[in-house]
Structures are given as C-alpha cells and as structure tokens.
C-alpha cells in the first residue's frame, strides 16, 4: 500500500512538473527569468542582446535568457516545442509562421493594454503587420519588413567594362533589360560567364511572379480567399515576361544561373552577374564576406506596369508562446523590442533590416547606419502581406519556382506553366483541408 501511495505521489509530482502552468502575476521584486528564442544571425543577435541589457537594467528583477539556434534547428525546435507547450516566453519568429501557430492556439494574442490592432496599423506598414495579424487579431510585433522586390545589386566594374552608364538610371524595366544585354558575356565555348541580369533565383521568381500579377491589377487568390487563381491572363503574362528576358533578351542562362547553381548573391560577389536582383538584406553580408567588392544597391522599376505593387512574406516578428508563466512581463519585453521606436531603430540599424515601423523608416539615422536600405524605402507603402498561402514554402520552392524555371529553360509554354502551378497549388490547398 505504501508503495502504491509513493508511486501516486511521485506521479502527481511529475505531472505537476510537466504540466503547463497558468499565467500568474509576479509579485513585486519577484525574480523572473524570461527565455527568448531566436535564430543564429550575428547582426540580429547582437542587436537584440543590447536591447535585452537595457531591459534588464530598467527591470532589475528580470533576467533574460537568450537562446539561439542554427536556422534548421530553430525551425524544427519551434515546430515541435510550440505545440508541446514548452517554448521560450518570447520568440523572434520568421515571416509567415505566426498565423500557422496562432491558428493552432499556440500563441497569445497581444493584450489590448499593450497594443490594439488599430494602434498597430498606425505604427507599422501593412505588409509586415499582416504577417502578425490572424483573423483580425494581433499576435505580435513585426521586427522588420521583408522585401525581396524592387531592388538590385549593381557592379560598377562590370558596367564600366561594358560601357554602360553608371550609376544606372532606368525609366522602366525594359531600359534595365537593355543595359543587362550589354553587360552579358558569353565565352568562346558558348558558356555564359556573366549574366547581365540574374533574376532566376527561387525567391526572386516567386516574388516577381506574384508582383507581376499584382502590378497588372490582377489577384492571385481565388474568390474564397484560400484557393489560387494562377492561370489568369495576368499570371500567364508575368511568366511570359520572365521567360522572354532569358529566351529573347538572353540576359541570363537559366541552366547555369538559378537557385542551385550560381546563387544570385555569391554569383554577384564573384563578378558573375552585373545586375543581381535580391533583397537589401544581402548588402551587409556581402560587405562582411567581400570587403573589397565595390557595389551599390539601387531601386529598379516595376516589371509589368508603371506602378509598384508586390506581396511580402511580412518579416520577423516578436511573439509570446501560450506556455509562458509570465505573460505580462513577456509582452512588456516584446513591446520593448518591437514597439519602442528607439529600440526598433537600433535593431534595424544594426541588423541592416528594412524597418516595419513607419517612424523608423523616416529616421535619417537609419540610412546613415545602413545605406543599402535607402533603395527599398520608396517602395514600402506599395507592399501587401502575401496572405495565407497554406504552405508558403511548398508553394514557393516546390511549385512556383521549379515550374517557372522549367518554362524559362524552354520546356514549358507560359500557359502550360500557369496551368501546372494553378493545379498543383490548389491541390495543395485541398490536401490541407
């Protein structure tokens, strides 16, 4: 009997230890430890750590334990820990992930006394805020504005060698393609050694396919808001435009230059492309990895019309897991990180990320600290959140990118590619329901 009692007591203790605790208000001066999770990125980590230090200085009873993981480990950790309810209190979560977990009830909604959605709309740009808003509820603070659109790296040495005016001034997309034709170099063995314009990377084909549809006034969601409309005339025209640049203008060889061979960033740094379409985020990395490389990051014209329009994945954001035992302190910290103007400015300046906060984007100190961001700033008002894409990674990397690349490589017509994307994307939605 004693043994049974002992086992029952032990089991209840274990259950109590394993069970998620209810949120409790901390007593004054109670020592509190707040765990924060993020991915390993020196610029991000350094920027966040400085803000943590300041928070701990202002709140001496709070200790912040900052845990960072390599990207793959980080993603797998939040995928398994969030549903299991044993995550950190605050998580710096990647763009597009918030609603996935909010829908499963694994994240806390931002309390109204911290910030309402209406207040957030005043403070943040629509696209990054969209990434933290699910079913009309605010679940976090955007830390940055992910923008892969509207900017390109240009190599002055290659421009000079090709006799092309530098810095470039392009009135429209075709003017840029005309310069790219001059920059393109093909060796005697018929192998392209310099791509005038490298746009055949996975993120870029995905971004410009969606942007191409939006720039023409089209929509990529079907009427139900869940399925897709990827075989519209606008979608076919966008694919055709992407095909023509490689097949008619011959500014890139898509067999050699794609996501798996001559990736745009590395390829640009090695002088293998004259105009490399990529987000401004690569500028800081390139400066560190290739200190002698001379380059600029410039704004490029819209691809399919006269007005900028694009979809964004949102960007990194600060969220609070439902398992936190100190929700109020966790939200206080999340707001300190993501909604405090001077801290946001410090984070964006140090990490070289595009600000999600309107006031910070207007701050001249930002451009002084991170000059590459300047080319992205004129575009921020034209972006929209990409919406709920069911499985954004599958849609981008398994459906849209390989199909459009296949078309650019000459194996599909624009119509066939659009139909293939349309069917596969909608099959993905159906399978998830």
């Amino acid at each position: 009997m004693k043994k049974i009692l002992f086992v029952l007591v032990l089991a209840s203790l274990l259950l109590a230890a394993c069970g998620g605790g209810a949120t409790q208000a901390p007593a004054a001066n109670e020592k509190i430890e707040i765990r924060v999770w993020g991915h390993q990125a020196p610029a991000f980590n350094e920027a966040d750590q400085a803000i943590f230090d300041e928070f701990m200085k202002q709140n001496p009873n709070v200790t912040i334990k900052y845990e960072t993981f390599p990207w793959d480990v980080f993603i797998q950790t939040i995928q398994t820990s969030l549903p299991a309810g044993n995550t950190a209190d605050v998580i710096l979560i990647p763009g597009g992930y918030t609603c996935r977990y909010a829908a499963g009830g694994q994240l806390l909604e931002v309390p109204a006394n911290v910030m309402t959605l209406d207040q957030a709309k005043e403070i943040f740009y629509a696209a990054p805020l969209g990434g933290q808003t699910c079913d009309g509820k605010l679940y976090g603070f955007p830390a940055e504005y992910n923008i892969e659109y509207g900017g390109a790296y240009v190599n002055p040495a290659l421009f000079e060698a090709a006799g092309v005016a530098y810095p470039p001034k392009w009135d429209n997309w075709d003017a840029m393609v005309a310069d790219a034709e001059k920059l393109t170099t093909v060796g005697s063995d018929n192998v392209m050694t310099v791509a005038g314009l490298h746009y055949t990377n996975s993120d870029q084909l995905f971004t410009y396919f969606l942007a191409g549809i939006l720039e023409q006034g089209g929509e990529y969601f079907a009427e139900d808001g869940k399925h897709f409309n990827f075989n519209s005339p606008e979608a076919i025209a966008a694919i055709q435009k992407l095909m023509d640049m490689a097949q008619k203008n011959k500014v890139v060889d898509p067999i050699i230059f794609n996501a798996d061979s001559e990736w745009v960033g590395e390829s640009f740094a090695q002088g293998h492309n004259g105009i490399g379409i990529l987000g401004s985020w690569y500028g800081g990395d390139a400066k560190l990895a290739y200190p002698d490389l001379k380059f600029d990051y410039v704004t490029i014209p819209p691809m399919m019309g006269s007005e900028y329009r694009f979809a964004s994945v949102g960007g990194w954001g600060y969220v609070v897991g439902k398992s936190t035992k100190h929700a109020d302190v966790a939200w206080q910290l999340a707001a300190f990180l993501g909604a405090n103007e001077s801290n946001v400015l410090a984070f964006n300046s140090k990490s070289g990320t595009v600000p999600a906060m309107k006031a910070v984007a207007a701050e001249p100190k930002l451009i002084e600290a991170a000059p590459f961001i300047a080319a992205a700033l004129p575009l921020l008002d034209f972006g929209q959140y990409q919406g709920f894409l069911t499985d954004p990674d599958q849609l981008a990397y398994e459906i849209i990118y390989p199909t459009i690349l296949d078309a650019i490589q000459g194996n599909l017509t624009a119509q066939e590619a659009a139909n293939s994307i349309h069917e596969a994307a909608n099959a993905m939605v159906d399978a998830a329901q």
Binding site: G104, I255, D393, D406, M428, D430
Partner: protein, 330 residues
C-alpha cells in the same frame, strides 16, 4: 567434470532455469540497453507506423496522446492511397523519387562491384607494404566527411570553370553547359545530374566494399587457387571460376549493404543537387525529409513514405539473400 558444466551448474538450477540471483543480474544488466532501445529505437518505429495512419502535423493541436486525434485525425490508409494514386505535388514527386532511387541503386551496385572486386584482387596480389598504403588511400573517402566530399565534387562539377569542364576542354571535348543543373541532358534515359551523383557516390563509397573483399580474399585457402593453377587455369579462369564463386557470400553481403545504403542515401543528394534539376535527382529519403521538415510538416504522409521505403528495403534484402545464398562453406 568439464569446466563448462561446472560453470553451468552454478548459474542454472536443477530445472534448467537461471537461478533467481543470476536472473536478477541478467535483467539488471540488460535493463539499460533494453530501455535505450525501447525508447529510442522501438518507440519511434512504432510511432512512425501509427503516424502513417493519421493526418498528423505537430503544428496542429491533437489529443493528449502523442498529439494524435483532434486536429490530427485518423485517416486509415489514405496516406498510402495518396502516395500511390494521388495528384498532389508531394505524391507526384514521391513516385518520381521512388523511380529515381531505384535508378540510382541500379547504377551504383554494378558500378561499385565492377570497381571494387577487380581492385581488391589487384590489391591482394601486391606486396604487404603497398597493400596497406593503397587500402588506406582507397578507404579515405569512406571515412571522410560527406559534406567535405560534396564541396570537392561541387568544384569538380562547377559549370565552365570546374575541374571536369577544364579537363574536357584541355582534350578538345565540349563539356556540358552544366553538369548538375541541366534537365535536358539525358544519356540512355539517365539524366546527367544523376550520373554525376552516382560517380561521386561510388567514389566515396567503394572503399568500404574494397576492404571487405580484400579480407574475404585473404580468407580463401591458397591451396584452392594453387590447385587451379596446377590444373592449368589461366589468371582469368582462376579469378572467374575459383575466386568469384568462393566470394559469393561476400558478394551477397556487399550487395545487400550497397543496396540498403543506396536506397537510404541522403546527404550527397541534399548537398549536391537538392533533388534538382526538375526533380531528376529527387530520392525517397529527400522526399521524406522535405515533407516532414521543410513543407507543411506533414509527418503522417512522411511516415507513410518511410514505411514504403522500409518495405522496399525488406523485400530487396530477402530477394538478394534468396538469389545469392550458398549451401556450402570452405
């Protein structure tokens, strides 16, 4: 009385069972490893089997029992039906991956044996000092990091400026535009990218079989080979009619090991081609990984893929054992 029976009497009771003391010792000794195996081997296998019958993803909230049920409902054999007949992209890619995996295995196995067996005979015939040196050289890629090897091969296969392209140009040949990313270059139904991965993989893996063959050759009684020579057998006849039949068990072993490792190959594909171009090098394990951890975390579907891979390996292994089994020993 023999020592063994004395020892036996100490631990075995009159009824032939272990004494309580020794039983306790046996259980205590075995408990940690059994617990370890149960927790980290048996349980994951059983969980994977169960998961394959659920639409399961850790993102959704399920019941208290391993997250199964609730928003992760039981779907019977729907995952299997989807994989065999479904029109969704994951199922379509998986079916292609099964084909590619078989193609890869079918290319690797003969290429590996054709290289390793004669090379082992050659190694066996040279002096001891050189034998050890060459055995170490050939075994080096096997024990080297796959990531490092892939980096080397990616430089070899780089388009235009890669070592292979330079070598082709040096001898007046026109190299392919891209060794690893051209979906349109196909030789006898085998995509160029797949051929490139096969070559890199065989180069990395052949040292393993080589060492096994060398060891097996050393165990063949010299008298048998000498008898063949006395009977007037040529070198070729000695190899083909004496050595190869005597190595049948070793050939079986190396074949089974090569087939199993080829079916489960992952790193070299993930790092060298990531399944491209156009999924021409997409393998079963890559599909399992991508569906489980990259796309939608569809662990139910991935678990079903794993079960299919397990069944394929089981069938192939049993078949190989039946075809190549021997009834005799030397």
């Amino acid at each position: 009385m023999e020592i063994s029976s004395l020892f036996k009497k100490e631990i075995v009771s009159e009824s032939g069972k272990l004494t309580a003391k020794h039983r306790r010792f046996a259980y205590t000794s075995l408990a940690p490893i059994m617990l370890y195996m149960g927790l980290f081997t048996l349980f994951p296998i059983l969980w994977a089997v169960v998961m394959s019958f659920f639409s399961y993803t850790p993102i959704r909230e399920g019941s208290w029992f391993l997250g199964l049920g609730g928003q992760n409902p039981f779907v019977g054999i729907d995952n299997y039906i989807e994989l065999f007949t479904g029109s969704g992209k994951p199922a379509e890619v998986f079916r292609l991956a099964v084909k590619n995996t078989f193609l890869f295995t079918a290319l690797v196995l003969p290429m590996n044996l054709i290289i390793t067996l004669p090379l082992a005979v050659l190694l066996e015939s040279i002096g001891e000092r050189f034998k050890t040196l060459f055995r170490a050289i050939y075994f080096l890629p096997t024990i080297s990091s796959s990531v490092a090897l892939v980096i080397i091969w990616s430089y070899m296969y780089a388009p235009g400026w890669g070592l292979l392209s330079i070598m082709f140009k040096a001898v007046g040949l026109v190299p392919p535009k891209s060794w690893l990313q051209d979906p349109n270059t196909i030789y006898f139904g085998v995509p160029l990218a797949m051929l490139c991965v096969v070559v890199a993989y065989v180069w990395q893996d052949f040292g393993y079989n080589l060492v096994i063959f060398v060891a097996a050759l050393q165990s063949i009684p010299k008298t048998l080979r000498e008898a063949a020579r006395v009977d007037g057998a040529s070198v070729w006849q000695e190899f083909w009619l004496v050595v190869v039949p005597l190595l049948r068990r070793t050939i079986l072993l190396t074949s089974v090991l090569t087939v199993i490792s080829s079916l489960q190959v992952f790193v070299i594909f993930q790092l060298l081609t990531r399944g491209g171009p156009k999924n021409q090098t997409q393998t079963m394990l890559l599909s399992i990984y991508e569906n489980a951890f990259r796309f939608a975390n569809n662990l139910g579907l991935s678990a079903a893929m794993s079960m299919i891979l397990f069944i394929i390996i089981l069938i192939l292994t049993i078949t190989q054992f039946r075809i190549l089994r021997t009834e005799w020993e030397y």
